[in-house]
Symmetry: C2
Subunit: 515 residues, 2 copies
């Protein structure tokens, strides 16, 4: 039997654990009576993670001291016992200054910001005064907040989930994007810091490591939670193993599951109470009704009996084939409700671009193929030589807009495909368009002979049909339906040729050529 320790469980209940057959004791929140947990450990109850870990984590100041001693990068901090101490901290760290409660702080509770020395006193008062135990943190000038769910097994094996971005609103988690759209090196650094932080704690289970990404590319630890966490809710739908199953695997000593994502992208939106009572429920139900119309959206309603403003009442996770598609779906759910709230149409997966409208009679064939296979795409004029800025912005933003591939056609000194390929990590297909001289050989060589480092997938001169077919094959590498349709296309083509062969054989070439 596993027993999950909640904050509401009393010491009496805990003492009764010895009487039931408790295989493992774990926690669903860190704000539990840790002294009791320690006594239970002494009596042989198997606690995962260990009481020592809970003791460190439930006091945010102790947590900072602990991680600082283990060489984990984190914002400067110091304990304060009175207003003088707070002022000294302000002189040292500057303003704005974060003042935090050491205990029972989460979802923005227990944090206060003093923008200047004058605000120190009221900030301290809002936190209940020095008696509750306060400390200050130097303001971390972060550009993004990241988080990593880290799992440690009983054998101390550690696996990390993909780094996510957490977007907060009034200090409460609002949206989680998985994976975080940050450079790969930043993701590696964030994973490394999270791994190191969890390595310094004792016991098995899921840990959530919240991080700051600063403008100079540093990763600083914010705090750690010793349990499944809001930043990992998306894993239920988007990862091979959800954080909840993973926590059970970890504390029970089962093999850890694969933490990687089974869908390319996910976004989680917290359903926070927007109003008290019935009106709040009414607004939440409106949002849920909207979510039920969004493809890939999964509604979780916690069925809490009481609705309060800013209370986490549930969440919606949207998954999809790319972050662009997922964002469009999220926008569509949130029209008129914050986020960027643009109404979403089906976002294009492929961009077909060409240097001039004179290329259109050739390039239209790529669009015809994509339409035939039902692949949403856009067709644009983007010239390397006449609209270089447009070319740069088009290529640089393509991935974030949700494009998965670009088909670029150009003739002569055909720079468009290669330049676009140098500005995006997406695959780029180049179509050499026959120019007025050289029969298109100039276009072909300009496109295919790219330097080492930047490939362009080049097709035959003027053969935009093949560019479209290649694009379908490329998307098909991760989409079995599209691949099955490509097989069918090949089968149909074969049958068409065989029909002609049969006609030639039965009629003879003379009548075939002169029907």
């Amino acid at each position: 039997m596993i027993i999950w320790l909640a904050a509401s469980m009393t010491v009496l209940l805990l003492w009764n654990l010895r009487r039931v057959r408790c295989g493992v004791l774990t926690v669903e929140i860190e704000h539990v009576d840790v002294s009791t947990m320690e006594r239970l450990e002494q009596q042989g109850v198997d606690c995962q993670p260990k009481a020592s870990t809970i003791r460190i984590i439930q006091d945010k100041y102790l947590q900072k001291v602990h991680f600082s001693r283990h060489g984990i990068p984190l914002p400067d901090f110091m304990q304060i016992d009175d207003l003088e101490g707070a002022k000294r901290a302000g002189d040292l760290f500057g303003y704005p200054l974060m003042i935090k409660s050491r205990r029972l702080a989460y979802d923005g509770r227990g944090n206060a910001v003093a923008k200047s020395e004058e605000e120190l006193s009221s900030a301290v008062t809002s936190l209940g005064g020095f008696g509750r135990g306060l400390y200050v943190e130097k303001w971390a000038p972060f550009v993004k907040e990241l988080a990593v769910i880290v799992v440690r097994g009983r054998d101390n094996a550690i696996v990390c989930y993909p780094v996510v971005e957490t977007i907060h609103k009034e200090s409460i988690c609002h949206i989680v994007k998985a994976p975080a759209v940050v450079p790969w090196k930043i993701r590696q650094l964030a994973s490394d810091v999270a791994h190191k932080a969890v390595s310094s704690l004792e016991g098995a289970g899921v840990f959530a490591v919240e991080l700051f990404l600063t403008s100079d590319g540093q990763i600083l630890l914010n705090e750690v939670a010793p349990r499944p966490h809001n930043s990992g809710h998306h894993t239920i739908e988007s990862c091979y193993t959800s954080q909840y199953e993973q926590h059970l695997r970890a504390v029970l000593g089962l093999p850890l599951g694969d933490p990687s994502m089974k869908t390319p992208a996910a976004m989680m939106y917290n359903l926070l109470g927007e109003d008290e009572g019935d009106q709040g429920f009414h607004l939440a139900h409106q949002m849920i009704a909207k979510a039920l119309t969004i493809p890939g959206a999964n509604v979780h309603w916690y069925d809490k009996p009481e609705m309060r403003k800013q209370r986490k009442m549930g969440h919606v996770t949207i998954v999809g084939p790319s972050m662009g598609v997922v964002e469009a779906r999220m926008n569509s759910m949130l029209v008129g409700r914050g986020y960027d709230g643009q109404p979403a149409s089906v976002p294009p997966r492929i961009g077909i671009i060409m240097g001039s409208d004179s290329d259109l009679p050739v390039m239209k064939d790529a669009s015809k193929i994509l339409t035939m296979f039902g692949v949403p795409h856009e067709v644009r004029i983007v010239s390397a030589h006449r609209t270089p800025e447009l070319m740069c912005s088009y290529a640089a933003s393509a991935r974030d807009r949700g494009l998965q591939l670009i088909i670029a056609g150009a003739g002569g000194a055909a720079h468009l495909p290669g330049m676009v390929a140098s500005l995006t990590p997406l695959p780029v297909i180049g179509v050499p368009v026959r120019s007025s001289s050289l029969d298109g050989m100039d276009s072909l060589l300009s496109i295919v002979q790219m330097p080492r480092g930047v490939p362009v997938a080049t097709v035959a001169i003027n053969n935009a049909t093949n560019a479209g077919l290649l694009a379908v094959r490329i998307l098909g590498a991760g989409d079995p339906d599209l691949l099955a349709r490509m097989s069918q296309y090949q089968e149909d083509t074969r049958e068409e040729v065989l029909r002609k062969a049969e006609k030639l054989q039965s009629q003879g070439w003379e009548s075939y050529l002169n029907p």
Copy 2:
């Protein structure tokens, strides 16, 4: 309140429905007391699907008559009332002959095969005699069994899940493959038949349509279940909306969810009782322990109190990035337990092939890039002109082996890339290898100038590095981690060039060239 009607619920319980606030009555199995359901309908209880549908489906003979009247293709059948009738059916349909109970038949129970007229009597006896209501079906010479989960909303909107293949063992569902590996046209045909079958029934909910695929490409209806079904268990992990959520959406009149797959491939394995009692539990636990070590495997244990041979005790669904990968994982789980049971290693995602070992000094660069990005791949010699049969079998089997892309290098009359592209729906990257004459222009034109219909993604002459990078971009179209790493690679390359630029600027060109 929704009430799920199970076979075990008594008429008394049903009559009490009127006293509780029952919003919708639905069924978890078709073997319920349909007369009571009809009376409840008359009294205004909202049943979804309708009692009329349950009445048709729970009698397999009536079901066949119903679908036959609605023009759904199905094997020939006829009612039999005595041995003379059975013999007449045998004369008409030939042997082997399927004899089936009209009622309470599932998981192979209620079916018997007579291989000859002599076996008719014992087959009938094994089914409990004519008194139970029997009919015969002409043996369907199927090559595969397929199934489609179809959902109908209260507004009669219909959506279909992807067609799956069901593999039976002793008439019990053993393995489900999603999507079915059959031609696209067969999938469309199967969906159409399933859609038409469900359209002919009344009421909302999930329906499972079991089908036969015959050797001549026909789809015949086997039977329909008016509820979530074993062939749809994979949807829990592999589809945007599980069949269970979908059933609730349907019967409640909520918008139907997206039925498409969020992972490219899934396989479901039924945990059937292998033995009675404790030994049976022991064997099942062994299998579960194995499953917990398999990436992408999800264990479902139904916690049934009693273990019996061939009883469905749970199931395991394995999902992954391609059917090849999922099959390798399934093999690894089932080593020594049937299926094909080969021990699995990490299956390659990319095949690098070349016409001759003389191409290896060029082609090795593609392998170096793939290794750098951590993409599992294989390197093979496959010559179009000297091993044409090997080339055909390699290309034709590539997709089923789990390859997602092929890089082919060749020189001179370079036929390998184009021939391979004509034999597979996968994307093929061609590397023109410089030949002894013509500076590789022969290789380039042989590879890039493919006819309309069969594209090869051609890179620069001898530039296998770019072939590797293009392959990473192509897999990255569906894999954000790989795409993020490609961005990082571009960033690193940029920094390297900028360092050189700085050095040139600070040292001047003379000292740069003569350090």
